[in-house]
Symmetry: C2
């Protein structure tokens, strides 16, 4: 199975339409039909049911679609990682959630800068939960992520900092005067629906609160009194004067971790991990 065939198959399987898929691929329809037939012949499996008026995936086709997506992503990541390994042995890209854990990032970068032989670090600021994609993509070599919020499957990690969570509220709100809160206190504040974060797959669970894409948007919404949010304590570093932070006594703790692709053999990443382990 060549990646070209997989690319073609994914296009057809997603469009369920040969002509549209061909257009998307930038080729004509007949060669595409032929390529898929050839793939089916070589596998000895019918992947698509052509029904004169509609194209549908067979069970085997669904399996191959899942697998092919993974393979194509891995191939693109491999090319990127290879290119980056060539262009810059002494340079690495660290993905981090824009705005979060500023103090920790500062400490990590400062400590790393004092290391002899240390690689230079490019900081790549991401939206919520984008770090995992960047790491898988090969666009980043390492990332700061948070357990249990971020999807850490497939990565190796080093714990950096465990901290309490706090509720971030509009400064004028009655709850903001309290010295401590519980999750129950927040679950049903009538005028302040809890902000909704994207899940691991990028979708949002239904609910009344606004969908959050990045922290500056969240900050604005809280300052406007439209929502409240639960974040780790170090978020205090970016609070506005219109914000108030109140500790949550019963929320799970959050651990910020340094994550990198499992089995990475990059010396630059290893150096950063060593620095992080000493923090």
């Amino acid at each position: 199975m060549e990646t070209r065939e997989l690319r073609y198959f994914v296009a057809v399987a997603e469009e369920l339409h040969f002509s549209r898929a061909a257009e998307r691929l930038g080729i004509a329809q007949p060669p595409l039909s032929r390529a898929i037939q050839q793939l089916e012949r070589r596998l000895g499996v019918t992947l698509l049911e052509r029904d004169r008026r509609s194209v549908t995936l067979t069970g085997a086709g669904r399996v191959l679609l899942d697998e092919a997506r993974v393979i194509l992503d891995a191939t693109a990541a491999a090319a990127r990682r290879t290119r980056r390994a060539a262009s810059s042995t002494k340079r690495l890209t660290l993905a981090t959630k824009a705005g979060s854990n500023h103090e920790l990032l500062r400490k990590l970068l400062d400590a790393h800068a004092t290391e002899p032989e240390a690689a230079e670090i490019d900081v790549l600021l991401c939206g919520m939960g984008e770090q995992a994609r960047m790491l898988r993509d090969g666009r980043a070599d390492a990332a700061l992520m948070q357990r249990p919020f971020d999807a850490l499957a497939g990565f190796d990690t080093e714990d950096l900092l465990t901290e309490q969570q706090v509720a971030i509220l509009p400064a004028g709100h009655p709850l903001a005067a309290r010295t401590a809160l519980t999750l129950a206190d927040l679950s049903d504040v009538p005028d302040l629906p809890v902000a909704r974060w994207p899940r691991h797959d990028g979708t949002y669970e239904p609910g009344p609160g606004p969908e959050i894409h990045d922290l500056s948007q969240l900050a604005q919404l809280i300052a406007l009194g439209h929502t409240l949010a639960v974040l780790c304590a170090s978020s205090r570093s970016w609070l506005w004067s219109a914000h108030a932070a109140v500790p949550l006594t019963d929320a799970s703790h959050v651990t910020t971790v340094l994550a990198w692709p499992a089995h990475s053999r990059s010396r630059a990443v290893a150096g950063l991990v060593r620095t992080a382990a000493r923090l």
Copy 2:
């Protein structure tokens, strides 16, 4: 990057010799040289340092070698899984260590057989630690594995049974008369070196004991009085009369788990997992 190019590159990177790699691939040397040059040109990266007398990998080459191996394995697995999905919706292959956990396997199969809509199960008997490869390969849909011995990374699991470990000894040995032992008792028995299991990567750590590949071999070696072994308690089901099993009071417990590829969407696997969860 086409899989053909990756296949060629892996061959050259492993052999570090174009002619031998070409022979292994079943093609002539010049086309291979050209293919690698083309790959390098397309990536804009030199992967191999040709030094008139020797070929060595560059840093980028090492990165691509790791990535390419993963991609090629994934591609082969994808083909196998697709073929199997086509040939048998109602059939799945369960990999298990030959000889181990016989009682548990029996219970699982019996319970599954009574389910309506249940897939038929082909049991695939593996040597030590081979199940992980079978799962990754796509040669098996699920496997019985043991924590903490087997490499479970990348799989989803369902715990089935946690049990104590026991020492298996030749029946006539002095230690066999004891009612309980500790790991310290076993660490330095002069005439009975402890059997060595393969590690996750298939290699063995150095030591005096014999290298174990499967349980029948181990059984024979113990019966001959050449070694002793530490196994989970359910191993008692296959003991010979020439064997004795003595509980270990301080060894970590072993959990037998049902494992399957993460994100599997197979209905047949889901059915088996449901059965297992009810055990």
